[in-house]
């Protein structure tokens, strides 16, 4: 395995827990936390998708600029869409956008390399990106956040910016093979605290941290042939 080029904001807090590591999108990330990862995922699994490449942009001209780069933008504020290639585009508020590539995608790199025009402002993204799944995930969310997650139906394409365990997060719901699951992003500097807090609460519910191997298609979503698997083999 080549040396990782990117460091996860969760690396320091995960290093004493991970049983096995892999490299995804150039970032060292836990492949497994133990033999019971899959069982934890069924109840309340906390996955780490910080390795996904992402970019941010804001400003009155941001939507048109992204459209010119071939990136579709959601028409409503606080909503998201998936492009045909699996790229997730989230509209945060009125004029800010978060673009997260599907595995192997290049939109984030193209955005970072492009020169923005007037009234377009790049937003550096160093998020901790988490995934919460399992039958007891709603219970976990109720214990850590005052927001009513029933309002985030997967087919509604809505996202929310709220506070979880005291940390500002962006969160949305997605459909998965075992029912709805939740993706959330927070500032990387708060990521270790939020991850440790969620893992502790999930532990009380029979779940816990889940490595990339057990996440399977949840980590790749629209693209099951995830390139990160090649790095693991």
């Amino acid at each position: 395995m080549n040396a990782p080029l990117r460091i996860s904001p969760l690396h320091d807090v995960q290093v004493s827990h991970a049983a096995r590591w892999t490299q995804a999108e150039g970032m060292q990330t836990p492949a497994s936390f133990g033999a019971d990862d899959a069982a934890k995922l069924v109840l309340a699994g906390i996955g780490d998708l910080s390795f996904r490449r992402r970019a941010g942009v804001k400003g009155a001209g941001a939507a048109n600029w992204l459209n010119a780069l071939g990136i579709a933008t959601p028409p409503r504020h606080n909503s998201f869409l998936h492009m045909d290639d699996g790229t997730l585009v989230a509209r945060l508020g009125t004029t800010e956008y978060l673009i997260e590539d599907a595995p192997g995608g290049t939109h984030a790199d193209r955005i970072s390399a492009a020169t923005p025009g007037e009234r377009i402002y790049p937003v550096p993204r160093f998020d901790a990106a988490l995934l919460i799944a399992g039958t007891r995930a709603p219970e976990l969310l109720r214990q850590t956040c005052a927001f009513d997650f029933d309002r985030l139906l997967p087919d509604g394409q809505a996202l929310a910016m709220t506070s979880m365990a005291g940390v500002g997060i962006t969160v949305l719901a997605l459909d998965g093979p075992a029912g709805p699951h939740f993706r959330l992003w927070c500032d990387g500097t708060w990521g270790g605290y939020l991850w440790a807090t969620l893992v502790e609460v999930a532990g009380d519910l029979g779940g816990g941290a889940v490595g990339l191997d057990a996440l399977g298609s949840l980590a790749g979503q629209h693209n099951d042939a995830s390139p990160w698997r090649h790095a693991n083999n």
Binding site: N78, L92, G93, T94, F147, M161, S163, G168
Partner: protein, 85 residues
């Protein structure tokens, strides 16, 4: 739980918001007296009543204006800057 309604993000617990002070007209620094400028810089109106205030929904960094009755601690309405014209 005390609640406030962000014009963009909807009704949320007050813990998601930060108060940033009453909206006060800025005196013209070129023409006002020293006493007027000092009053603007150092003094605040602590009398209870209906006031317009800056608030921020911190998870989304959405800044907006709230009209609040500080005597009854009741938020009367909220709106984005520029939407009240």
């Amino acid at each position: 739980m005390k609640l406030m309604t962000c014009p963009i993000n909807g009704t949320r617990p007050i813990s998601e918001f930060a108060y940033w002070g009453e909206i006060r007209p800025v005196p013209d620094a070129d023409t006002c007296s020293d006493a007027q400028w000092a009053d603007y810089v150092f003094n605040r109106n602590g009398a209870p009543g209906v006031k317009k205030e800056w608030w921020c929904h911190t998870p989304s960094n959405t800044w907006f204006i709230a009209e609040r009755d500080t005597e009854k601690d009741k938020v009367l309405r909220t709106w984005l800057h520029g939407d009240d014209k």
